[in-house]
Amino acid sequence: MDLKTRGEPPSADELAAVDAVLGAAPDRDLHDVTGGHSLRNRRHLLLPALHAVNDRVGWISQRAIDYIAERLDASPAEIYGVASFYALFSLTERPAHQVHVCVDLACRANGGPAEGDLPAGAHASPCLGACERAPAAFVIDAGATPSQAVAGHVTAVQVRQWSDGDGPDPEAAPAAAVPQAGDRSLVLLARVGRGDPLDLDGYIADGGFRALAKARELGPVGVIAAVDASGLTGRGGAAFPTGRKWEAVRSQPATPHYLVCNADESEPGTFKDRVLIENDPYALIEAMTIAALATDCAYGYIYLRGEYPRAFATLLHALTTSRDRGLLGGETGFDIAVVKGAGAYICGEETAIFNSIEGYRGEPRNKPPFPFEVGLFGQPTVVNNVETLINIPSIVLDGRPANRRLFCLSGAVKVPGVYETELGLTLGELIELAGGLRDGSELQAVLLGGAAGGFAGPADLDLVLDQDSTRAAGLTLGSGVVMVHDQSVDLIDQLTRIAAFFRDESCGQCVPCRVGTVRQEEAIERLAAGASTGDLDLLRDIGQAMKDASICGLGQTAHNAIETAIVRLGVFS
C-alpha cells in the first residue's frame, strides 16, 4: 500500500491521545507489531484510538487521522471512512463541551424536545437508553480527563444551561432503575440493591462464582446440556436457542473461538442491559467465563454502547478487580476486553459488531457464513446479549427453566423501570406491575419490542407476553421494550421519529434500506401533513421491499412498527 499523508504532525493532545492507545511511536519503524492475544495486526485498536482523540480534543482532525494511519499502517481514506460512520465522532471542529439531547420515542412522548426544538450548541441524539428517566441528555466534556454524564428528567431550561457550559448533577444510584429491587423472588435482578455492585467480596459472599465452580464440574458438554434443557433463547431480539448456538461454536475445529457480549443496546426504549451491568457487573463476568468454558473461547469482548459512561466505568472496575483476584486473565485462560461503540445502532447487529471491533466500518456482513463458523477475526464466535448471559449462572447452578424475562417499561406508567417477570403475564398485568397508568392517563398504544417491534392497542391488554403469543398476534417481544403511550402522545409524531431513526441508523450498504428508509420517511411526512392516501400504498410497497431484500435485520424490520400502527391502530385512516 502506498501510504500517503499530508506530513503535518498531530497536535500534542492528539499525539498523547493516540499514543495512550497505541504506545509511543518507535523511533523509525512505524510498522511495529506488538504481541497481545494472537492477532495479526493492530487494526482492532482503531476504534479505541478514534475514541481517545475524540475524548481528548472533542473532534478528530485530518492530522489526527493521518497520524493514526501511519501508526496502524492503514490508509487515511479507510480511517476517515470508519470515523465518519459513527455519530459520536466529529470530523469537523467543535467545542469540547457537548450536549446530546435525546429526541427519541420515550423522551418526546414525555415532553422532551424534537430535533428542531434544540437550542444552538445542543445535538439531537437517538434513544440514550435512559427511558425510565425520560427525557434524557448526555453531556460530554472532552479533555485530558474527559467527563461524560447522563441526566434524566431533563427540562428545557437545563438543556439551555448545559448548552451554555454547565453540566448535570451526578446520577441516582443504579438500583433506582429497578422498582422491584429487593424482591426475594427475583432471579435475574436478585442482587440489585442488595449490596455494592462494585464490591467483589460482597459478590463472592453472596454466592458469586459458585455457578462457575459448578460449570467446571459439569464441563462444556454438561453446561450446554443444562442451557439447552432450560430452553433459554436469546434476549437480544432474535430469540435464537442459546444452547444450540453454543454447541455450534463448541464443535468448530478452527481455533481460537471468540465470545462477544452484545451490550450495544441501542433499540429505542431498551435499557435493561445497562441496568444489569451497572447493578451486577460481576455476574456478567461470571456468566461470560462460563460461556467461554462451554464454547472453548480464550477471549471475550463486551461491546458496550458509547453513551453508557457509568456502565463502562463499572465494567472496567469489575474486570480489573477480577483479574487482580486471579478470577480472570493469566492462568484462568480467559480474559475480557471492553470495546466502546461510538453511536451506531447498527453495530448491535451481530456481524456489524465484528467489523466494528476489528476496526472497519460497522456494516453487517453477509450470512452465510454464520458467526458460529466465521465470526470475529474470521473465527468461530458466540454472540450473546447481556440479559441472555445473566440467565446463565442461575441456570447452571439450579437447573431452573429459563422462564423469566426483563421488560423495559417507559412512558405513561406510574413507575417506569426494568421489571423482571415470569413469562405468562399479560400486557395489562405488566402495566399494573409498573403501577398502572399515570393518573388521568388513558391507554392509547403500547410499543412492544422497540422501533423494530410493533404497536399494540388498548384491545391487546390480554395479550400474553411470551414468544408464541406475541408472534401469533403479529407482534414481538424483541428486546423487551414496553413503551406505554396515553392519549397525550401524538402517534403520528412517534411514527415520524421511527422513520427518521431508521433513516439515520441505516448503514447505507444496501439499496432497499439506504433508499427505502428515506422514501419511507418522505411518505410518512406527506401523510403527516395530510396529503394523498396513495402514500399508504407506496408505504406498503416500500415496506415489503425492505423486508424481503435488505441485507440485515435493520432494513428488514424498519417498516414493522409503522405497519402495525397503520394496520392495528388505524393511524392515518
Binding site: M1, D2, L3, K4, R6, R43, Q62, I65, D66, A74, S75, P76, A77, E78, I79, Y80, G81, S84, F85, L91, A344, I346, F354, N355, E358, Y360, R361, R365, N366, P369, V374, G378, R503, D504, E505, S506, C507, G508, Q509, C510, V511, P512, R514, V515, G516, T517, V518, R519, E522, L538, D541, I542, Q544, A545, K547, D548, A549, S550, I551, Q556
Partner: protein, 291 residues
C-alpha cells in the same frame, strides 16, 4: 478482514438444485447466478461486475429460495444441494422493481446499461416518488487531467473501493464515508485526488457500472456533444511500456484514441492496468503535423 469471501471453485463435487422447476447440477461453490447462466441470463445485476467479488449491495438480483424467510442475492449465494430456487415470483419481481425505483429516483442512471429495459420489464416508475424525493445530485468532481468523478451517478456498488483496495490495486485511496443515504465514496476528508495517494491506474473507472467514474477525454467530449459511441471502434493490443504484457482495448473515434480499457477476462490484467497503459496513449497519436 472479511469484506468478502471468494467462493472456492475447486469443483470436486457437484450439487443439484432446482431452478424454476428444472434440476440443475453445478460444481460446489457456484453462485446461484452462475447456476442460472451467469450475467445476462435474464436476472438483472447492478453491483455485480466481471472482476470484483460482489458486495451484493444493490439487491436487484434477488431470487426466492424455499425455506428462506427473506429473498437471497443470486450473485453471491452459493448453490446448495437440494435448494429450490425461483428466479421470478411476485416477491422477486416486487423487490427488483423497488430497487430500480429506489435507484432511479435518487441516482442519475442515464449511463447505466439495461435500465430502460428493466424498468419496463418490472414496471418500475421512479417518477412516483415525486419531485421532492431526495437524490444524490451534486456537481462533478474535476480535480485532475485524467478522470472525473460524477457521484450523482453513483449507486454505491463498492466496486471502485474494492478495485482500489484489497481486491486489486491495494492503494486504498477511496472508501465509503458517512452512513445511510449520506454514505458516499470519498478520499480522506474529501481531499482532491492529487492530494490523495491515487496512482491513476484507472482500475476504478474500469469497474464502475454507471459512468460515475469517467475518462476526462470522454467527459469533455460528452460535454461538447462530440461523444459518439456509434462511431467508435475498439482495438485490442498489448501495452508497450513494460514487459508485463498487459492487454489493452483502445477505444477510437475519428481516428483518435478516446479512452483505454482492459479486457476483464484477460488472464494477465483481469481488467487492471497502471497509469501508463490506462492514460499514456497520447504519444501514440502525436502526429507529425501536430508536434
Amino acid at each position: 478482514m472479511s469484506r468478502s469471501t471468494t467462493p472456492s471453485h475447486d469443483a470436486e463435487s457437484t450439487v443439484t438444485l432446482s431452478i424454476d422447476g428444472t434440476d440443475v447440477s453445478v460444481p460446489e461453490g457456484t453462485t446461484l447466478l452462475d447456476a442460472c447462466g451467469g450475467k445476462g441470463c435474464g436476472i438483472p445485476t447492478l453491483c455485480y461486475g466481471d472482476t470484483i467479488t460482489p458486495k451484493n449491495a444493490c439487491r436487484v438480483c434477488m431470487v426466492e429460495v424455499e425455506g428462506s424467510r427473506v429473498l437471497v442475492p443470486s450473485c453471491s449465494r452459493q448453490a446448495e444441494q437440494g435448494m429450490v430456487v425461483r428466479t421470478r415470483s411476485q416477491r422477486v419481481d416486487h423487490a427488483r422493481k423497488m430497487v430500480l425505483e429506489f435507484l432511479g429516483s435518487s441516482v442519475d442512471l442515464s449511463l447505466t446499461d439495461h435500465i430502460t429495459e428493466w424498468n419496463a420489464e418490472y414496471g418500475a416508475d421512479p417518477g412516483r416518488y415525486g419531485a421532492d424525493a431526495q437524490t444524490v445530485a451534486q456537481p462533478v468532481k474535476i480535480d485532475n487531467d485524467l478522470y472525473v468523478r460524477d457521484y450523482a451517478k453513483c449507486i454505491l456498488c463498492y466496486q471502485c473501493v474494492d478495485a482500489c483496495g484489497e481486491q486489486w490495486q491495494n492503494s486504498f485511496v477511496i472508501d465509503i464515508a458517512g452512513r445511510g443515504f449520506a454514505a458516499h465514496v470519498s478520499t480522506e476528508n474529501d481531499v482532491p485526488l492529487p492530494d490523495s495517494a491515487c496512482v491513476y491506474c484507472g482500475n476504478c473507472i474500469q469497474v464502475c457500472p454507471t459512468g460515475a467514474l469517467m475518462f476526462k477525454t470522454e467527459h469533455d467530449m460528452r460535454e461538447a456533444g462530440s461523444w459518439q459511441p456509434d462511431h467508435q471502434t475498439t482495438t485490442d493490443t498489448i501495452c508497450a511500456f513494460c514487459g508485463v504484457g498487459c492487454n489493452l482495448t483502445l477505444h477510437v473515434q475519428d481516428n483518435t484514441i478516446v479512452k483505454v480499457s482492459s479486457p476483464p477476462d484477460s488472464p494477465i490484467t483481469h481488467g487492471n492496468l497502471c497509469i501508463k497503459g490506462r492514460f499514456g496513449f497520447q504519444h501514440a497519436q502525436n502526429r507529425p503535423d501536430e508536434t
